[in-house]
Symmetry: C2
Subunit: 514 residues, 2 copies
């Protein structure tokens, strides 16, 4: 733009328009299609000039506010330092359980995502049809994983995947909900003996929440088969299972009264049916509730419910062996929004300390969730061959908000790992600084210098204090003459001369100790 | 879908359509808009049913092939392991130079990307307008960085950013070019003394290519001001500078003859003008070529060229201090495609060993590139306040292809970090295995077990060999009675009894040693 030439914009525009033969008749002269379309070579130069004029006038028109798109945000270096710590802990745990890494494209063929997320499908971001395939940004990491398994005919795999996903939700940013957010998924695919991988998934959630020291938490567990069995014995028509399940999922955000109203008013369930559901879903407890429901005269007659309850019983046995039952609760109201779950489902919530004695602990929202989805891979296989899967997703955004708040309050966050600043005591030492810092870099030492020919000594010390660099390697006239480097500890202000040939070893020794 | 009920699809469809009152007259009954639009509560349940029918029929129609979108790919665990190694080396180097982390959303407001990439703008992926802002996937990490600086009024920052970018190119996948690919960027923003940060950027490229041991390489250097000065003294009209610059950029992919033909035939340059450019851009050399051009009677009369040459002279001095000039070449034909560069530009290419004696080494394409862009931040500032920047981008995809080929040929790639498999020697030891593995996990040991109640001993050993797990912790009747665990080294087949209470320490000791 800056180099359009000595002609004024208007004169240039007139000239261009005179010279221009539109690539097709009827096309608007300033049609934005030129941007995406292919312009033939002879017209190209002028089309580009024309485009530039158009863009320039667009620019003048818009004068837009610089921001990130709605529901998204940048992560500044301080936030990145915190995020790195959290992700490292999560990845370490996943690797501890033998998971392999996997990466998939951020967008999928639109059809891959269709029919997987129930009413949430409207939250999917579609890409513009730019003369290619119909594409959409992924909504989670589970469907791409299932697509990957089916596409490569993989029958068995334990993988983790850290990546962003996108949902066009109306974000209430204060609660740490964004339209772009990071998920950390661990999944086990394969035909195995019941509940062994499922129990490991719960153990992983437990380990991660423990390691991150987020405060007290609870992992709610239920089973889609128990929900479906319960709907059946209460008399819900089968074609309404999904909708009723979605309603149940709202319990917690909505009162039972409102959920009941939705069931009766909107879905046309009979009052007795809704009340029957209400009696069940207000129950929660431990392994003993599973035993109790196995004796429930109605529920135990339903094949699906019975399967679910028997599996939950086994699950509780395994969780006892893993020593984590004190954090697990069997909660019949847990439904999970996603369509693809077929068996055990779970969701971890953080508990706030009760404000007054005797009050129930308040959940501050889900920080991890998952479940079993035995049919999803089969949906991608031409012959419908199933690969049973179970997995979990860590909601790092919410965890991140909590840790960020806590760290901001208590500690100074180190954003760089620099070990030493190469500084000069007098003027005209740029060359010496550059020679020395190159030596340090070549030895793998994390080193910085100020990008000034002659920075003041004070500004160099100040930079160390500001950014947390612990050591300063100082060159001056005397040091150069004596063949030494003065090494200064920023914290203690102690200075000691080190022979130039020993400086690398000495810095390595000191940074090893700390 | 599986639970639409006992009615046949056709019967259900008829029923639904009878009951349905379309939310607005004239809307097609099977309009796909329902997917994205908001349907009012009373009609919602039926609209959902209607949607499901539509989706089902879509599904029947399409019967699509499961694949990743054109120009994209999954990274399998083996590829992820290689990528992790490369990225760790790159990040380590960036941190070694004191860079802070930064993350930005994968999409930006469309306007942020407009007018930054010249004719490449047509390669930008736009998001569908779903009733929100006009958005586009980022094309590189530089423009988001500049937007971040301007938005937050940051005048000084040294950051790195690892992330994916998207370009709708026609991918020639064999050459390692994709529409979705990863970039690793390091940039220094701020007003500093000339060429000090620029020299550091070149040092970083040198260090990374050295560390990754990709074979011989060369870093070409030029300056946009020298190019513009050269165009001026050769008699190119100023409004054609950009187009001629793009042509020059094609040298290497195209012969000089073809580039000349483009300049004369398409752009209407006089033959003498093209030949004058040709004389210059076919020159390359070291610092001495800079000196020589500083004496060039025509070029040295041009203010811009003179500035560029003087800066390059200083740059070569600094690169000498950094000890890396043997890999640097001043190449007047280097132009770089992107619009935003204003000063020094550079590009690193790998060299293949010449096939026959006396042949010139063959470039295998760019693996790193960058340059100075002093005006980009100002384009986002309402008052146009500039923040000079210089930076580099490592082309990890190409590097990744090279390392992948090499590693596949020479070594077995370890995809997991599991240290020990918890195994049983006899049947009915699932509970004991689960108790032991929970202990190991709690101690931070990377452990796996097979998800079978009674796996055969052989299948457990086989799993270790297959996945590279070095140790097996074995429980059996005797071990349980004696209060020991048998620890087996997979490689040596040695087995030794360890007291149950010492097993954690012993595994930690052994894995520390290796």
């Amino acid at each position: 733009m800056q180099r359009l030439g000595p002609l004024s914009r208007e004169a240039w525009a007139t000239l261009t328009l005179q010279l221009l033969r539109p690539p097709c008749a009827g096309a608007s002269l300033l049609s934005p299609r030129v941007l995406g379309g292919l312009v033939q070579p002879p017209a190209r130069e002028f089309a580009e000039a024309r485009l530039k004029i158009q863009l320039e006038s667009d620019k003048e028109k818009s004068n837009f506010v610089i921001k990130t798109p709605k529901g998204t945000r940048d992560l500044n270096p301080q936030q990145m330092a915190i995020r790195e710590k959290i992700l490292n802990a999560v990845i370490r745990c996943f690797k501890c359980h033998g998971a392999k890494g996997l990466d998939t494209p951020v967008f999928e063929l639109k059809e891959v995502l269709t029919e997987k997320y129930g009413e949430n499908s409207r939250l999917i971001y579609d890409l513009k049809d730019q003369g290619g395939e119909l594409l959409a940004l992924r909504y989670d990491l589970t469907v791409p994983f299932a697509r990957y398994l089916a596409m490569n005919k993989i029958k068995k795999m334990k993988r983790y995947h850290i990546g962003k996903v996108w949902r066009r939700e109306n974000p209430s940013i204060n609660q740490g909900r964004y339209r772009e957010f990071c998920q950390c998924d661990f999944d086990i695919a394969g035909q195995f003996d019941p509940m062994i991988p499922d129990a490991e998934c719960l153990k992983i959630i437990y380990e991660i929440l423990n390691t991150l020291q987020l405060g007290d938490f609870l992992i709610k567990v239920n089973d889609r088969r128990i929900l479906d069995g319960m709907f059946a014995v209460c008399g819900v028509p089968e074609n309404k299972f999904r909708f009723v399940c979605s309603s149940v999922d709202k319990l917690g955000k909505m009162s039972w009264k409102d959920v009941r109203e939705e069931m009766v008013g909107k879905m046309g369930l009979a009052s007795e049916v809704a009340d029957c559901i209400g009696d069940y879903i207000q129950q929660h407890g431990g392994g003993s509730l599973v035993e109790q429901l196995l004796q429930d005269p109605k529920l135990s007659q339903n094949k699906l419910a019975l399967e679910g309850l028997r599996d939950l019983k086994l699950l509780f046995e395994y969780l006892t062996l893993f020593g984590i039952t004190e954090k697990i609760i069997f909660d019949l109201s847990l439904a999970r929004g996603l369509d693809y779950y077929t068996g055990v489902i779970y969701e971890a919530v953080l508990l706030q300390a009760p404000t007054r004695q005797g009050e129930e602990p308040l959940g501050v929202g889900s920080v991890a969730a998952g479940g079993r989805y035995d049919d999803l891979v089969g949906m991608f296989d031409p012959k419908g061959r199933k690969v049973p899967c179970v997995g979990l997703s860590i909601g790092v955004e919410r965890i991140f908000s909590i840790v960020e708040q806590r760290m901001e309050a208590t500690e100074k966050i180190q954003m760089t790992e620099t070990q030493v600043l190469v500084a000069a005591a007098q003027k005209n030492f740029l060359k010496e600084r550059m020679k020395l810092i190159a030596e340090l870099w070549d030895a793998g030492i994390k080193a910085e210098m100020l990008y000034k020919k002659d920075p003041s000594f004070l500004s160099q010390l100040h930079y160390c204090e500001e950014t947390g660099i612990p050591l300063v390697a100082i060159i001056g006239e005397r040091e150069l003459k004596d063949g030494v480097i003065k090494l200064r500890s920023v914290a203690s202000r102690e200075e000691v001369d080190i022979k130039r040939e020993n400086i690398v070893t000495e810095i390595q020794r000191r940074t090893c100790e700390s």
